[in-house]
């Protein structure tokens, strides 16, 4: 472990947390120990279900029911040198409330749902200030405006009276940070604070946290699943799995000399995406005619006075057997573009042309309802959220067989055989057929979603953020599955994603979108290593680099919208 001249501000020793379930207690956190030091950042890394969030919440005793701390101590060192064991305090008592939001503050993953939608930002921050100091309301308001200004929120005098839904995600996360800092805490727990944000916003928020940490000398516990972020900001790293610590190292040792097999695996799946060599061997006839051709596609929402140009004059070609990536931040119009191609949303102007199995060009925009259905059988969609996109009341067999049944292609025994074949194709056992989606993990559900998309033997698949909701190791598995399927079934992909490393790994060509416009296009390698446009440069350089010796994000190119 790294050398420490100073004493820890908080020591966690042998912490265990149980959740009382009907089947008996479930140990979510088991025998976890670590220390936090002033001015230092400790990253708690793990995949979903590893117990990292529960550990973070245990530090303030705000674990949701029915979780309880059953063992261990959380010794907080007060400024006067005395220590308090937070684990021994009554979670509903007066004493612990002094520490919550006082000495220890927390920011959360989803800024939109972590603030009450019906109270102003100001009211929620002022309340936190009044809880921990003896200020008058007017003084607290002045202090709130100062805090908002310190987290770079413009016009804080006006912003204080706004409601959360009037803020963007990044602005709201800044306000959350302002709230957390209101009582000048000595420990900041940040639970996936940037997971819901765009990569450039993520970089800004991490910058902000770093700056404030240096100013106030706070100890930061950053909970994340993103190894890139870890490399950029961590001093020490704790890797958790199944509620236990598997490795606890300095950040440099962790990346350059991992010991535990699980850490190695985690790093390997991250590095694999960085490499981007997956498509090198793919030989595609460049003279082939495009299977999908989009010309001057535009979509305008709203009225002339008050409208949004969601997609603005976008043209591209998708060659058979190739993968085209569409990257952009939220609001860039990438999802709308995918829907326009399928005519789930009707385009305002433009043309989409599809080359069918017989080599005939089909004008997609002019198709009637029945012909559009045939087009939809050839061009399928895979969705982002594997939890929401499968009907929980249908068995896997019904889910996968549904498109075939609806199109009247197969029924009965033949349908069952086809489902078996499809399950095999996506690497699932045929036995799972009669089970319901809740019995599967996120990765398995996404496999089911892919099997469903493949059931009509499509030629093009539009995948909208298909791997965003998955853990990093699962993510690369799903990507490999898609690559394998592409080779075997000669599929063409349109891959919509905000995740540059995934796009780099998976795509042949990349389109970069910003405010509905096509900013840049090129091969994946060229866009990722040698971007030409200012916006693309800022986007690429904001991606955290999983190498602590080469911190890319901190030296990133900033893109000013007004300057362009």
């Amino acid at each position: 472990m790294s050398d420490q001249q100073t004493n820890p501000v908080i020591s966690i020793k042998n912490l265990s947390v149980d959740f009382a379930l009907r089947r008996g207690p479930f140990r979510a956190v088991s025998d976890v120990s670590f220390d936090l030091y002033p001015g230092k950042t400790l990253c708690l890394v793990g995949e979903s279900g590893s117990g990292k969030t529960v550990t973070g919440r245990a530090l303030m005793q705000i674990i949701s029911k029915p979780g309880v701390i059953v063992e261990g101590s959380i010794s907080l060192v007060k400024p006067d040198g005395a220590t308090v064991d937070i684990a021994q305090l009554d979670p509903r008592g007066k004493e612990i409330r002094e520490f919550r939001g006082g000495d220890i503050a927390m920011i959360f993953q989803e800024p939109m749902s972590s603030m009450s939608p019906v109270h102003t930002i100001g009211s929620q921050i002022i309340e936190a200030i009044l809880q921990h100091s003896k200020m008058s309301k007017a003084e607290a308001r002045t202090r709130t405006i100062e805090l908002l200004a310190s987290v770079d929120i413009s016009e804080p005098e006006l912003a204080i009276d706004r409601y959360p839904f009037e803020y963007s995600g990044g602005m709201l996360q800044r306000a959350m940070i302002a709230m957390a800092l209101s009582a000048e805490p000595r420990i900041l727990i940040a639970d996936e604070p940037t997971t819901a944000l765009d990569v450039t916003t993520q970089a800004e928020i991490l910058d902000l946290v770093k700056r404030l940490q240096v100013e106030h000398g706070m100890a930061v516990l950053l909970i994340t699943h993103d190894m890139g972020i870890v490399a950029e900001v961590a001093d020490e790293v704790v890797v958790m799995r199944h509620g236990k610590i598997v490795e606890h190292r300095s950040v440099d040792d962790m990346f350059h000399d991992p010991q535990h097999a699980y850490t190695k695996q985690l790093l390997a799946s991250t590095m694999k995406l960085e490499a981007g060599a997956a498509n090198a061997a793919k030989a595609v006839d460049d003279k082939a005619k495009p299977i999908l051709s989009v010309r001057n596609l535009s979509k305008f929402y709203g009225t002339e006075k008050n409208g949004v140009q969601a997609v603005d004059d976008v043209s591209f070609d998708l060659l058979p057997g190739k993968t085209l990536g569409i990257v952009g931040e939220s609001g860039s119009g990438k999802t709308t573009l995918g829907r326009l191609i399928l005519r789930i949303v009707e385009p305002t102007t433009g043309a989409v042309s599809y080359r069918d199995r017989d080599g005939q060009d089909v004008d997609v925009i002019g198709l009637n309802k029945k012909r559009l259905r045939d087009f939809h059988a050839d061009v399928r969609l895979i969705f982002q959220d594997p939890y929401a996109s499968l009907n929980p009341r249908m068995t896997v067999r019904e889910i996968i067989g549904d498109p075939l049944l609806v199109n009247g292609r197969l029924r009965g025994e033949a349908l069952k055989d086809k489902v078996t074949e499809l399950l095999d194709l996506v690497g699932l056992e045929p036995e799972v057929m009669e089970r319901y989606p809740h019995a599967f993990s996120g990765g398995q559900r996404q496999r089911i979603g892919i099997a469903r998309a493949l059931s009509l033997e499509p030629r093009v698949i539009i995948a909208d953020e298909a791997t965003s909701a998955l853990d990093v190791s699962i993510r690369s598995q799903i990507l490999d599955l898609l690559l394998d399927l592409q080779k075997r079934l000669n599929l063409s992909f349109v891959f919509i994603s905000h995740d540059i490393s995934v796009v780099r790994y998976f795509c042949d060509d990349v389109l970069v979108m910003h405010y509905g416009k096509l900013v840049e296009s090129g091969t994946a390698e060229q866009i990722c290593t040698d971007p030409q446009q200012a916006y693309t440069k800022s986007l690429i350089s904001a991606v955290p680099n999983p190498d602590p010796r080469n911190k890319r994000m901190m030296h990133r190119t900033r893109f000013d919208v007004t300057a362009n």
Partner: protein, 329 residues
């Protein structure tokens, strides 16, 4: 906010016109008219009945020979321009005179029931949501389902028996006989309070049970939301977290229930009023409908619909006050 309210009130105008037209249509729907009913009655009581010519003369006299649209215009223009709801054929007096007293009492009973429903279901709903699956929660659930399952009139009968045999009070009606036909005074008001609790409980019980369930389910959902964790992480005391955040947001559907609870209370009043012999509008409305006393029935239905509309308006305004997201759209 003011603009929102004005807009909502403007929207009510076409709705009111639609309602007035519909109610007039509905009371015309059964075959025949008031005269047919009256003639049948006369034919029963005098053996011979009356002549064709006399019937035609009466029809002209009552204005029933005119086309429907003319009858409608006569009715609605009277209401709008002169506050005149037309005559009651059956009672032989202006409708407004008949309605005046009973409508006020109906409103009184309904409002008291609404306050009772809210006053009881809000705290119980909150308690049940916070202490889900505790013994007390189960008890409230049991009582709630009983309240939902027992028909109003049965509860009314049970309470009447209970009041008479155990408490020894004369139940039924809203006033003791000595106050029945005298002007309003303090004593009369006190007398009213002594009587009104039975109909209020009878009418309010099923609504209370329904709202307890709604509040419990809403709040239970909100209690798990991330903003509650945020509030807890600020160090707020549990009661403050509860009332400032989840309860406030769980109130949304609660408030919008005024819209539908008002008409259901009023229709509940009808059945209960008959059983308990209350001088409210319900029994008169039933009689008017049976006798096809069209101006009386129409005016009642129209006024009740208007009340419902105002209930909706109040709930919409309250919602906008509670939830900025509604205010801003």
């Amino acid at each position: 906010m003011l603009r929102y309210i004005i807009r909502r009130i403007l929207y009510m105008i076409p709705t009111m016109i639609g309602i007035s037209f519909l109610t007039f249509m509905i009371i015309q729907l059964p075959p025949g008219d008031f005269l047919t009913t009256m003639l049948a009655y006369i034919a029963d009581s005098t053996q011979g009945g009356i002549t064709e010519a006399l019937e035609q003369k009466m029809r002209v006299q009552y204005g029933l020979d005119k086309p429907l649209i003319v009858q409608y215009w006569k009715w609605i223009s009277g209401i709008v321009f002169r506050g005149d709801f037309g005559p009651s054929f059956g009672w032989g007096v202006p409708v407004s005179q008949l309605i005046g007293d009973t409508m006020g009492l109906t409103l009184m009973v309904s409002l008291c029931s609404l306050i009772f429903v809210w006053g009881v279901s809000l705290p119980i709903g909150i308690y049940s949501a916070v202490n889900r699956y505790s013994a007390t929660d189960h008890l409230f659930t049991l009582i709630g389902f009983l309240g939902l399952a027992i028909p109003n009139f049965l509860l009314a009968l049970a309470l009447m028996v209970f009041g008479y045999s155990v408490l020894g009070v004369r139940v039924g009606g809203l006033f003791s006989p000595e106050f029945m036909h005298v002007d309003w005074s303090w004593d009369k008001f006190v007398d009213l309070l002594g009587h009104i609790w039975i109909p209020v409980i009878v009418i309010g019980t099923s609504g209370t049970a329904a709202l307890i369930r709604i509040m419990r389910a809403n709040l239970a959902d909100e209690l798990e939301k991330p903003y509650v964790v945020t509030a807890r992480a600020k160090g707020l005391p549990e009661w403050k977290i509860l009332f400032k955040y989840p309860v406030r947001i769980a109130m949304n559907p609660f408030v919008s229930t005024i819209g539908w609870i008002l008409p259901s209370l009023i229709s509940g009043v009808t059945i209960t009023a008959i059983v308990l012999n209350l001088p409210t509008s319900g029994p008169i409305l039933i009689q008017a409908l049976i006798a096809q006393d069209m101006y009386l029935a129409g005016s009642f239905i129209f006024l009740l619909s208007i009340l419902t509309l105002f209930g909706m308006l109040i709930s919409d305004i309250l919602l906008a006050l509670l939830d900025p997201r509604i205010r801003f759209n």
